[in-house]
């Protein structure tokens, strides 16, 4: 079991009931010990948090976060943290920031 904070920034909150910050408690296979990865978090977001299923492709592309959305794990680009393989720890802050809008 792990407690994390997820933030949807850069206008991405539009598909999450306009709520930027979400506190989540995640579990894998109902076990308290099995590690939860960022990949699991993405699955959770897609299945449980996106209200309108038509919006899924705003967030997801080819099974991963859409190109043009910045994913940060504790303010570090997820590319440097192993992307989907990263194992979440209590207190981690994961932010998704859309860059796909006018400047």
């Amino acid at each position: 079991m792990v407690n994390v904070k997820v933030e949807f920034l850069g206008g991405l909150d539009a598909i999450f009931k306009k709520q930027r910050v979400h506190k989540l408690t995640l579990k894998k296979n109902n076990s308290d010990d099995e590690p939860v990865t960022v990949g699991d978090l993405i699955d959770y977001i897609v299945e449980n948090m996106i209200e309108d299923k038509n919006d899924v492709e705003v967030f997801l592309q080819n099974g991963t976060v859409r190109a043009g959305i910045l994913t940060l794990i504790n303010d570090t680009d997820w590319e440097l943290e192993g992307e989907k393989e990263y194992e979440l720890e209590d207190g981690d802050i994961i932010s998704f920031t859309s860059t796909l809008h006018g400047g």
Binding site: K5, E7, L9, G10, G11, A14, R20, V21, A67, G68, L70, L72, N74, D75, T76, D77, E79, L80, E89, D90, G91, D92, I93, S95, T97, S98, T99, L100, H101, G102, G103
Partner: protein, 363 residues
């Protein structure tokens, strides 16, 4: 209201050597630069990001001491970071320029009104003067009216032409001859790609210049973010907790640009340097001699005494492009209003009612 992104609470105590910044070798790398794949820490990122812009400014002689410069401020990420960085560099390197925020209110309810609120907060945060000019005042049309009349398909064309002129007019009113905009490397690469795909050779050569001025206009435009990746601009705004507005315009973005953008993002995912590479390719294009000569001729024959017969705005033609678009709009506005009128129903207020009354008049 502005809510800053949360600061991380979990800090890694043990770091592997490979996780260190490749510049200072002492702090944890937090990003990989798309330009060169270098892994760097937050402080080094701020330093290289700001320094690269400074070098772009200096090596292209963008400013001169005492110059008054208007930042085309939309409240979005690019112009917000631009205003912040320009103010910072002006103080750090003593350019001696005077910065003014110049905003255009296109009249798009639910979009521009909210983003203008952001610009007003930026004015306070950065302590810079702000001037707002509206389509309503300049043209007697808001974008909402235009879309209602001309449909959504060409909204970007109208908005683009009108905004370009609105920025010029706004700057002219403020007696400023230089407008800087937040166009970034992604925007520029997109434009190069679009011009190639459309075979728009004439625009291709111009599309990568850092400084441009439209025919007949005494006001120059420049793009200090020409070499800045969108990703880095957003990261900079994120780490600096800058207050910017981020909602897509209510009117769908230009379909062709949208597709070009999508294509670029997919390219970038495979090969991040491609954005800067497309710009480099664009810069290296030299048009065939014939085209080159024509272009030169155009510049020489440009006559700054030419003014639009309608609005008096500088224009190479008798009537400027904005007035031509507006003329077309006026015609369809009248038509639509008449069509909408159903006999027997109460008269609607507005130009159509006046028109109807005029029609019924007999002498």
């Amino acid at each position: 209201m502005f809510t800053a992104p949360s600061d991380p609470v979990n800090v890694r105590k043990e770091l592997k050597v490979t996780q260190l910044c490749e510049l200072c070798h002492s702090r944890k790398a937090i990003i990989r630069r798309p330009k060169n794949l270098q892994k760097i820490c937050k402080l080094c990122f701020f330093h290289v990001f700001e320094t690269e812009i400074h070098e772009t400014i200096v090596s292209n002689d963008l400013f001169y001491r005492g110059e008054r410069v208007a930042v085309g401020a939309s409240g979005g990420k690019d112009s917000t970071v631009l205003a912040y960085v320009l103010k910072l560099l002006n103080e750090r390197h003593d350019y001696g320029i005077e910065i003014v925020l110049l905003s255009i209110d296109e009249g798009i309810v639910g979009y521009r009104d909210d983003s203008l609120a952001t610009v007003k907060r930026n004015q306070q945060q950065y302590q810079l003067p702000l001037e707002i000019f509206s389509y309503q005042d300049l043209y007697d049309w808001t974008m909402d009216d235009i879309v209602e009349t001309a449909g959504i398909r060409n909204s970007c064309t109208y908005c683009g032409v009108l905004r370009r002129q609105a920025l010029d007019r706004g700057a002219a009113k403020l007696e400023i001859k230089h407008v800087v905009t937040g166009h970034n490397a992604d925007d520029m690469a997109e434009t190069v790609l679009m011009n190639i795909l459309r075979g728009d050779v004439a625009r291709l050569e111009k599309s990568t210049s850092i400084m441009t001025s439209s025919t007949g206009s005494p006001i120059k435009r420049s793009k200090p973010f020409k070499y800045c990746y969108q990703k880095e601009i957003v990261l900079y705004a994120h780490y600096k907790k800058l207050d910017y507005f981020s909602t897509e315009c209510t009117y769908a973005p230009e379909a062709f640009r949208g597709t070009a953008r999508e294509l670029m993002k997919n390219f970038e995912a495979i090969r991040p340097s491609c954005i800067i590479d497309i710009i480099a390719s664009g810069e290296s294009f030299v048009l065939k001699q014939k085209m080159g000569k024509q272009n030169k001729k155009k510049i020489i024959t440009y006559n700054d005494g030419n003014r639009c017969e309608r609005c008096g705005y500088l224009s190479s033609n008798k009537i400027c492009k904005a007035c031509m678009l507006l003329e077309g709009l006026e015609k369809s506005r009248a038509q639509i209003k008449i069509q909408v009128q159903v006999p027997g129903e109460p008269q609607q207020e507005g130009p159509a009612k006046v028109l109807r009354t005029l029609e019924r008049l007999t002498f």
